[in-house]
């Protein structure tokens, strides 16, 4: 897969469309796997989305004693396999980003799989498709690298960034996720 997920936290408007859309993805059993959180609602309304980083060497898969978390050839880290998952929840503690969720009724873990049923055909995941602010994007790796360079350059240009109400300092400027 040449496309990557690209997150720009500061663009997020907290609409949670990404979460509603996550439920709509074919294999997701109407349960969202991504997160949208306030940085600190007492201070302001800044929110940010969080989804699986699709790590190259994922902690969740590493700590899984049952080897239930598979990685596709494109590098997508899938939800635990139903028949293998023993419900130990190691993965939910192991992930440094706190991504895997646990279904106590079914006694199994579930997580973001980058909408594998879509992305394997190079169709954008549901969250990136609907996100009205482009906080979540599904773009070419090259475009992502280009955007990263451009952001830094543009921030140097006078007047580009607001000098007042500049409360997005709470979060990193951008966060790239890529799988190759």
């Amino acid at each position: 897969m040449r496309k990557v997920m690209y997150l720009e936290f500061e663009r997020c408007i907290g609409c949670r469309a990404c979460q509603a859309a996550c439920r709509e993805c074919g294999g997701h059993d109407a349960k969202e796997r991504n997160y949208v959180e306030y940085v600190d609602f007492f201070e302001n309304r800044q929110t940010y989305p969080m989804l699986c980083m699709q790590c190259k060497d994922p902690a969740c898969a590493r700590v899984c004693p049952a080897n239930a978390i598979q990685i596709t050839e494109e590098g997508v880290v899938l939800s635990a396999m139903e028949e293998k998952c023993i419900g130990c929840r190691n993965c939910t503690f192991g992930c440094p980003f706190g991504i895997p969720k646990f279904d106590f009724e079914e006694n199994k873990m579930y997580k973001c799989d980058m909408c594998y049923d879509r992305t394997q055909h190079e169709i954008a995941p549901m969250c990136a498709s609907v996100c009205p602010s482009d906080a979540i994007r599904f773009i070419d790796h090259d475009e992502m690298m280009d955007l990263r360079r451009r952001r830094t350059q543009m921030n140097l240009i006078e007047g580009k960034k607001p000098s007042e109400n500049n409360k997005w300092d709470y979060v990193p400027e951008f966060f790239g996720v890529y799988s190759d």
Partner: protein, 707 residues
Amino acid sequence: MTQFVVKPGVKNLKHDGEKLITTHCCYCGMQCGMHIRVNKKSGKVVGVEPRYDWPVTMGKMCPKGVTAYQTVDHPERIKKPLIKKNGEFVESSWEEALDLIENNYKKLQAEHGKNALSVFGGVSMTNEKCYLVGKYARVALGTRYVDYNGRFCMSSAAGGFMKTLGIDRGSTLPWPELEHTDCFFMAGTNTAECHPTTIQWLWRARDKGAKMIVADPRETPTARIADVHLDLKAGTDSALANGMLHLLIREGYVDETYVNERCNNYAGLKEAVKLFTPEYTSELTGVATEKIIKAAHIYGQSPRSVVMFARGVEQQNKGVDNVALYTSMALLRGQIGKFASGVATFTGQGNGQGGREHGQKADALPGYRKIDNPEHVKYVAGVWGIKPEEMPEAGVSAYEMFDEIQNGNIRSMHVICSNPAVSAPNNHYIWDSFKKLDFMVVSDFFLSETAEFADVVLPTTTWAEDEGTTTNLEGRVIRIRKVREPLGESKTDWEIMQLIAERMGKGKFFPYKNVPEIYEEFRIASKGGKADYYGITYDRIEKEDGVFWPCPDEDHPGTPTMFRESFGTPDGKANLPAVLWQEPGEVPTEDYPHTLTTGRVVFHYLSGTQTRRTQFLMEKCPEPYVEMHPELASQYAFLDGDNVYLETRRGNMKVKAKITKAIRKDHVFIPYHWGKELSVNKLTNPSLDPTSRMPEFKVCAVKLRKA
């Protein structure tokens, strides 16, 4: 007609056994493009797929749009007519329900005259249906009393644009141009929550260095990142706009050539704004003078700018003045009628634009014609096949219809596609009026708070079970496709109006077999009017990604950019206003020391009839709350999550506190999407704008205590 519309090279995910049908969201004026997933075998609606190639929204949706399809095959749908017997709703046949309506309508009209009946419409319906509501009231029922919920939504924008520009088209420019704008002046619009899919265009413009100035008592997600956040007191927009105009003139930012050639009354405006120095403006609005000055410089220096506003400035008893003044900021800068610049209001309801143009309004006829103009009446009467003298005179505005109920003049109301029991101000008065009616009919697909008052509830279809057109917030006419067959015994609103017309002996005026037939008549009815749809056909909409009105004939390309050469006024010139300062209907006093303002959240639409029945949305936002600054909270020792008792001169309620610094210290905010004891509109002030008859939902005086 093609059901699945997609451009070459665009990939969508199709599941086996499913088909995709292309349509638009049923909720706000953005009318986001989407494909609905339908199970081929069962015909049921099962999901949604982004429409990546719809040029206005590019596949983006807010959570309401993503979950919109879930209201179609919903377990709470009303599938049979309901008749209230001994205080309980009982399912009945259409025959029985229509008999009851016919008997009551005829009896009431015999006893109290034609105008004993009334119709309360809505604009979350297609153009075809909205057009028919006016005709249904005036021809089938023969009553003058018809008005619609746009009075609580768009009427101030309409009034302000009519006065200033001569034509009320929500946006003078097409949305994709926003990307190229240098500066956005946004007043009273919580775009990130109420029209989220616009954000992509704003953020793209910002990527290129565009500036944003946001006027709002709350630090909304848009205000948070603004270059200047003008944190004004609710209800002081006319002062702020006058102050901005003052500075534009003082600092030499006026495009004198444009103003001299294209505007009237520049001298009058100049004189009126003289008073509004930054100091005086600051005193009235509560905004620091430096911010006002900074905003004026940024706006004044931007080569291409768009002034945008929404309910925040419109839902005031001077909403029309606010609109006229903000619009004048664009006029003084010579922005209207040019690329990537102009003025726009964010249409609230799905078809708030189209639905207000074609005769649902008490004083309007199709094509933005006026009922007090004999020429207009003659034309429309001709299209409808009635005599001009049979056309009823103008009625009264939505809220004033309730006065007429209280006075005993209106004895019966048919509410179509609306829920005034939640959305009208001063709820107690509305509820009492419903109880006073001799006979009440409601058409809806869920049992709304309004429907609970009815004697007869007629089950309608949702947007997915009928076809037609809507007009989005740009003024682009688009196609809504039929996605599935009507559920149970539900019928489309137009069929219902047709059936009642037949019972009233007026069937021959409503001979439609399908929606395209209504559309054909409607095109002709709008022909030659200000909102001229005559040249727009279903085919063209599909081929051209929608067509912008006015479009007087089939060879006309439509009008994406308005007012390129002249305005819609009789002399072709824009009318600049001269407006003095006027307080809101209610100001804080010792007894009611704070300001209450109301609004929306991203998870709910209008009165919440649909979104409160959608699981995801209810999980994210189950109940209203009162937002307040920690400084105000500490005066009452409120902690986050505490129950707060609020009271105004009209009503009271109890909600939980949500504490944040993202709001003015002297204001509290409550979202309005809930009914009964959770309805903030029990508290709001029905102080009406003299022109638009818009109630002042945005400002009233309130007192607080621990509950």
